[in-house]
Symmetry: C2
Subunit: 289 residues, 2 copies
Amino acid sequence: MQYHVDGQLVPRSEATVSVEDRGFRYGDGAFETLRAYGGDVFRWPSHVRRLRRTCETLGMPAAVPDDLAVRVADTLEANGLRDGYVRVSISRGVMPGKLTPTTDVDPTVVVYVRELPRGGTAGESVWDGPAVVQSVTTRRIPDPALPADAKTHNYLNGILARLELRRARNDDYQPDEALMRGVDGNVAEGATSNLFFVDDGVLKTPAAGSLLPGITRETVLELADEEGFPIETGRYSLEDVRGADEAFLTNTTWEVRPIEAVDGIGVGGGPMTDLLARLYDERVEARCY
Amino acid sequence: MQYHVDGQLVPRSEATVSVEDRGFRYGDGAFETLRAYGGDVFRWPSHVRRLRRTCETLGMPAAVPDDLAVRVADTLEANGLRDGYVRVSISRGVMPGKLTPTTDVDPTVVVYVRELPRGGTAGESVWDGPAVVQSVTTRRIPDPALPADAKTHNYLNGILARLELRRARNDDYQPDEALMRGVDGNVAEGATSNLFFVDDGVLKTPAAGSLLPGITRETVLELADEEGFPIETGRYSLEDVRGADEAFLTNTTWEVRPIEAVDGIGVGGGPMTDLLARLYDERVEARCY
């Protein structure tokens, strides 16, 4: 396997960054998780737009290299991958000892890839089964502390949420996604996913502002809108989700993934979840990126 | 210069970590900033205790190596340093692709050093002048989102605060520390320092719970207590600080550093600040660690 580090393809075992890289010292970087289907990255423009926005938030507006798409394509090709997981990381690189960043940035740009097969609309999902969701006490970092729409290397908030799940696991109970609430107690998002649920035929999802609005979330909202489904974004309690008719999670890797249960209470997918999953698959197949 | 990486001294230019290290990918690590005076690390036991606590919070209780003190001493010696800045970083290392960490941890342990001279009680401070402090809109991450007493590689909160300062700077105004408030609006701490102020002879500092209680803060509270100074910890507004008789910042590198002004309003040090700074110096000189 080869990764792309700072403009060069290198064997994975030699893909390193300096211990002085601010990505390592402070998690001072932006990233995107992407999926390539048949050699093309799904919704590339949306991902690059968000990556640029994150870099702007971090005060390094010019950090995204102009040839990023080429770097990603080269990395996929070097590894003989047409279907794959791709991660792009852009850190602020090495700077003198101070915490305050200088304006002169020499970013560290890393492209990671991994095989992630896909068989079209009839293909297998990457998840083994529906999500088993557990709510956690770790609260989602509020927007005034870290802008919610920035996707950064500061990911301990989600890791602490997942650690609560690790502690809750036993032979009979295997939750695999943590549902985080905001400091206001309302449901926000999963550690690596956005949440949707269906209530009396209305598709509902927590409003942007206190969560990272994913590209898959955006796609699903588009699809639902095109189908004429009633959509509501708002603030919801855990009880709203537990009592929903259907519920599912979205992210780039999982796409649309039904929720089996929340805190042990069965919810499950259903007709709207299934239809949105199928429409999503069709969009991928049709190369409507 | 040589650093200590994963059990070995290596030239700084070769001190690297894998791009897959969770320290780089997620800021998934703990750190401490230390100072060596005359070959010994000041308040080593307190720093190690906090490092262990941070690692416990991160679900890797055994990550601090037993021989950490030896690694630090070896690194100082290899660089011919008796007085120096030391940083110890412990990341969760490389793990399979999932966000949820496995319990089996092979941590990445890095010791960084840098020359930082000190001339005893008559010596020069590392800071060029008193701090010029500016309050910022970035709010300190609340404890329920990321435990406030954990010192982690997720440092974007402080970096965003410092970026506000960078934008505020001009030829006539050069703030160098950002004063952060909590989501409740009360004053919490600086981006890399704790805050103290003096009001009618009472030494005041924001209460732990919404800030990282520094080892220097702890030392200053001990010194003030030994001197019989009245001490109060509580919740304070920006106005309380701006209207104080004296104010100063503390951290391992700065020790006790007077505040010249807050948001352009002159505050300054004073007799209590000076005395605490002198007592701190004496404790360092007396090797009362």
